[in-house]
Amino acid sequence: MNSIIDTIRTDGLRQWLPLATLILLVILVGAFQPAFLEVNTLLQLASDTAVLFILATGVTFVIMLGGIDLSIQSMASLSSVVVALTLSSLGYGAFVFAFALGALAGLLSGIAHVRLRIPSFIATLAMGGVLSSAALVISRERSITLGESERGYLGWITGTLFGIPNVVIIALIVLAIAHVLQSRTRFGRYSAAIGAGEPAAYASGVKVDRQKIIAFVLSASFAALAGIILVGRLASGSPTLASELLLPSIAAVVVGGTAITGGVGSIWRTLVGALIISVVRIGMTFLGVNIFAQNIVFGVVLVAAVAITIDRSKIPIVK
């Protein structure tokens, strides 16, 4: 078993495996359902992937460091509730407010993780509880549907530009920003260094704690943005709006080839991973798999992808 995994891991094959999988899946679904390959269907696929991709992009920053963020779905839901509640009074300011709230929540998670030295999965699990509690309280446990006048503010999400849905353009902007952050800034380099070997990064003077806090701020801010996009697409906010998105998001990151142990990965891989998840979902819907039962497949895919991408030399004792 391990020897098979080792052969998959060695050489460049591993790096191109996700992309090859994606192309294969697209051809496979296209062969069964030729309508899938039409431009409109593909644009629809891209729009449907946008939210997942934005969530996954945020959490990629944290996973690159070797941490995890289990609070993104709660943050996105809270953000959707905040936007839905404040849109009538704040106008476009509601989006800024929700986004800032995301940054603040990420800052708190980061501080809890770094200063109190709580493992990230437990700090963010707890933060997720706090956030979803806040969402439940301020929404009075109901979903909030937007009125006609409030929907006017959502044009930048729901509209199209030259035939391309704005959601896709937003996702592409996110991709560009995240890619620059990841590969062209000090933060990006330091993150990769911390993920590859934290003691070495620390010893060479990298301010490890600060990079970690930035990563959590980015993760929660992107989650808040995902919540805003969800409000635009559904014209409503709800405290449980995004709760089904945690597993697909983490699966997207890992399936794309970013190692859960940190250090290896990129935003491009996350894009490929998110598209794989979307295509698999469409394929399953086409095959008539119950939407809740699809979680079985995602759970299995997640564990399998981790098994292939994980760097076992970095964890002598697996806990």
């Binding site: 809890a112 999965f121 707890a126 809740f292 995602f298 759970g299 997640l302 994980i310």
Partner: protein, 333 residues
């Protein structure tokens, strides 16, 4: 001379370390007593027998789940599949015993099958974790959704009513004023105590949590102990599933929602360290009581239930921050 110098600080350090540990072990109990006193002052109805029964009913499922999770956390691992195991068990139980959806009526045999299912889920967790060397939180995160997804696939969005009198009696019939389910939970506590204190598995689990490399060097079959511990935890979650199904009188796919959170809160609030090696199932009992008493008190004070998740989240952070042994973990991920 040099020898003396090197020995004396370690000797003087030992008693203080032990004393600190003892305070850490007793602190949750003190918190529990203070909490009970405070709530009684605010609302004297808290100390009535009727309310005690209510608290015991609310505590029975978190206790059983917490017992399973304690063994995993004692090893320094984590199990996020609590809801998956519980939901799948509850749903399968509702399909096997006398119910409103099919003609099965396996009774006791059905419970046995459900316990085996729970053991199977835990065993799968353990084998994947150990053999493929994947961190436990990742494996069990996957298993969480596989379990809930499988329960959904079995039900197809329905809920199945349970008519089996034996299952229902766990919630309805009483002995000395307390429902039978509470006694079942206490029986589980007794078993967990025996496993923890009087079996090789229990000692090995502590050894693994204290230092896995040392444990492996001293000949402990580390992999087998881990797989056994996850299997054991799976059985406890299955018992939790039986109790949850009995309490609700039906099996549905939402039966586990929120239970992982309460379980983890209870275990860490009880003082069991996430780094492993420190804690016990009795401390989990105290932790469960703290969580349940606090939410009971909040209900008595009229705080909406949705706030309680947030309070639990803050409790997790506070408890972990207070109990973590930072000297042992320079890198926190």
């Amino acid at each position: 001379m040099t020898l003396d110098a090197s020995i004396s600080p370690s000797q003087s350090a030992k008693p203080t370390a032990r004393r600190r540990w003892r305070i850490a072990a007793w602190a949750p109990l003190i918190v529990l007593v203070l909490l009970c006193g405070l709530i009684t002052l605010i609302n004297p109805n808290f100390m009535t027998f009727g309310n005690m029964v209510r608290i015991s009913q609310a505590a029975m499922i978190p206790l059983v789940l917490g017992l399973g999770a304690t063994f995993i956390i004692l090893m320094g691992s984590i199990d996020l599949s609590v809801e998956g195991g519980l939901t799948l068990s509850a749903v399968i139980l509702s399909m096997l015993v006398l119910n409103g959806a099919n003609s099965n009526a396996f009774g006791m045999f059905g419970i046995l099958i459900v316990l085996l299912v729970g053991a199977g889920v835990g065993f799968a967790n353990g084998v994947i974790h150990v053999r493929l060397k994947i961190p436990s939180f990742m494996v069990t995160l996957g298993m969480w959704f596989v379990g809930v997804g499988a329960a959904n696939a079995l039900l197809g969005g329905m809920a199945i009513r349970i008519n089996d009198p034996m299952i229902r009696s766990l919630a309805i019939e009483r002995f000395l004023g307390f429902p039978l389910g509470v006694w079942l939970a206490l029986f589980c506590l007794l078993i967990a105590l025996i496993i923890q204190n009087y079996t090789r598995l229990g000692r090995y689990i502590y050894a693994l949590g204290g230092g896995e490399d040392l444990a492996a060097l001293s000949g402990i079959p580390v992999g087998r102990v881990r797989i056994l511990a996850f299997t054991l935890a799976g059985v406890f979650y299955a018992v939790g599933g039986v109790l949850a199904a009995a309490q609700l009188g039906l099996g549905n796919a939402q039966i586990g929602t929120g239970r992982l959170f309460t379980t983890v809160t209870a275990v860490v609030v009880g003082g069991t360290a996430l780094s492993g090696g420190q804690g016990s199932v009795l401390q989990t009992l105290v932790g469960v009581l703290i969580v349940v008493v606090l939410s009971n008190g909040m209900v008595l004070m009229g705080v909406p239930p949705s706030v309680q998740i947030g309070v639990q989240g803050l409790m997790i952070i506070a408890a972990v921050a207070l109990s973590i042994d930072r000297k042992r973990m320079r890198i926190v991920k």
